[in-house]
């Protein structure tokens, strides 16, 4: 029998395992380009619809360019919607026996989930960046420096990454692709629409404002706006705390459930 690997060796192996799973999941995107194409078209559609349907009404009432207001919201929405793909792919891997194979191998227990969320976040980064490019074509102008722009994109992706652990956990508990998508929308819709994404929170009824002001996606959007357009960056830090909290709760929960899943 082999000697027990040292802690450093086992950490190296864990990263190697995560790397192998990330590579596998990226190959899926490469060999099935439809996944990326349609998951890019959907947020682009939202960007165009919101900009041209609501743009006139909202910019005339609040003043200023609506695309500047809208794009941070669209970027956050893109990240959140994108996390709904994570549990669907996870359930598909469970159903097809791919995860049985992985779990019969002497590999790291966290690699399947870590590789899944990481690869999905890479795709998310690409699409979020694409929305920034399209937004710019529609007239968005960022008003802070390049460093802050990168920080804004990173904030969106970091929050989205954390949220994908939540949706992954949901997938492990529900274990049905259709059901998990519907359940996911129950989280994602209120969080994106009852937020500062598309309209100023001040226009909402008061009871809704209480929710909208204090929920994490509003903080994320406000943080992104502060980084791209200037202003106080408190929301950036609040978002980071939210994201870390989600990770602290849902990484162990997801791993626990993954181990119990048969």
């Amino acid at each position: 029998m082999q000697p027990r690997p040292s802690a450093i060796l086992s950490l190296t192996m864990t990263f190697s395992d995560i790397g192998a799973i990330v590579k596998r999941n990226l190959m899926r995107f490469k060999r099935t380009p439809e996944i990326i194409v349609f998951s890019s078209i959907q947020p682009l559609m939202f960007l165009l619809l919101f900009n041209y349907v609501f743009g006139g009404a909202i910019s005339s009432s609040s003043g200023g360019s609506y695309i500047n207001f809208l794009l941070p919201g669209i970027m956050a929405q893109t990240a959140l919607f994108s996390t709904l793909q994570t549990p669907i792919a996870l359930v598909a891997d469970l159903d097809r026996g791919a995860i049985d194979r992985f779990r019969s191998l002497p590999m790291s227990r966290v690699a399947v989930l870590a590789g899944r969320t990481f690869a999905d976040s890479l795709r998310m980064s690409f699409i979020v960046f694409l929305m920034f490019v399209f937004g710019t074509l529609l007239g968005f102008r960022y008003q802070a420096g390049g460093g802050k722009l990168v920080a804004a994109l990173a904030l969106v992706v970091f929050f989205g990454y954390a949220f994908s652990w939540l949706t992954a956990t949901l997938g492990l508990f529900i274990r049905n692709a259709e059901a998990v998508q519907t359940a996911g929308f129950l989280f994602v819709f209120p969080l994106t629409f009852a937020s500062s994404a598309f309209v100023p929170v001040a226009t909402m009824p008061e009871w809704l404002q209480v929710f909208a002001r204090n929920q994490p996606v509003t903080q994320l959007i406000n943080g992104v706006r502060a980084l791209m357009l200037g202003g106080p960056t408190d929301a950036v830090w609040i978002t980071i705390v939210w994201a870390l909290s989600i990770l602290i709760v849902f990484i162990p929960l997801a791993i626990y459930k993954f181990d119990k899943t048969v």
Partner: protein
Amino acid sequence: MKNTKEPVIVVKKLKKYFGEVKALDGIDLHVDKGTIYGLLGPNGAGKTTVIRALATLLTPDSGTATVNGVDVSLNPTQVRRMIGLAGQFAAVDDFLTGRETLMMVARLYHVPKKEAKKRTEDLLKRLNLEEAADRTAKTYSGGMRRRLDLGASLVGRPEILFLDEPTTGLDPRTRQELWQLIRELVAEGRTLLLTTQYLDEADALCDYISIIDRGKVVKSGTTASLKASLGRDVVEVVVADSHHDEALQIMKKVANCEASVDELNQAISVRASNGADMLIKVVSALEKVGIRPKDLSVHRPSLDDVFLAVTGKKTKPQVQKTKSKRGGR
């Protein structure tokens, strides 16, 4: 390494319930090194659950299972280093090529890259997948997928292989090829535990068989002893109506047992431990008196016959939770 007489896999009083369904209801197994052990039973009997417990994919409610003396519940990682698993639904990724699949699995076994490449190329050659190595598995036939899945289970060079219904859904020729491969793998010193719904498969491959029904071993023994006890081959002859009665008498005499007549097609059948031998005897006896059979056949008792003999009831598929969640293809 332990004494070769020592069983490689030992399962004691293993139980696993999924709610009301008793997937495993106290299973005992002893698998000797270098043998093929078959778990035979209908859908939902608990065969897959045994494999999943041994492959560390689920934790039993009670009882123990050890692989080379290592407890699967207490030390799953160590068990995983010794085993290879090929599943019922051929768990290969559609979007990866054969070569990529084997390389990925080698990496997950922490095989150094150079060695991983060597093993991958060796396996592709051995599994006759060289030509298809750079095509995605999406383009593979059912048999190719099974071979690739089996290949993935071999990358880690395991001493012990678990094959869950390795040939279900394959055409007869592909099935034969896979059987040949399985025999070779065991001839190289591996120990193999497989599940099957088919008596002929168990017969063709296994040294030792346990028949499983509703989570329990209802009968086990060497393949030969089981066959002898479970029922004998059936030799069936159809002759022209004018010779029917004469042929019936001759066959009774040759077989030295009662003969039965199928009411539909008037086929006369007798039972024998070796059907082929009996067929030859019957045909030559009939020929001596100038009777030429219109139709001849030998068949083995079916799984249903075996179940009827062992459990006294017809096989009835039971819904198995672990399976119902997976998509068949």
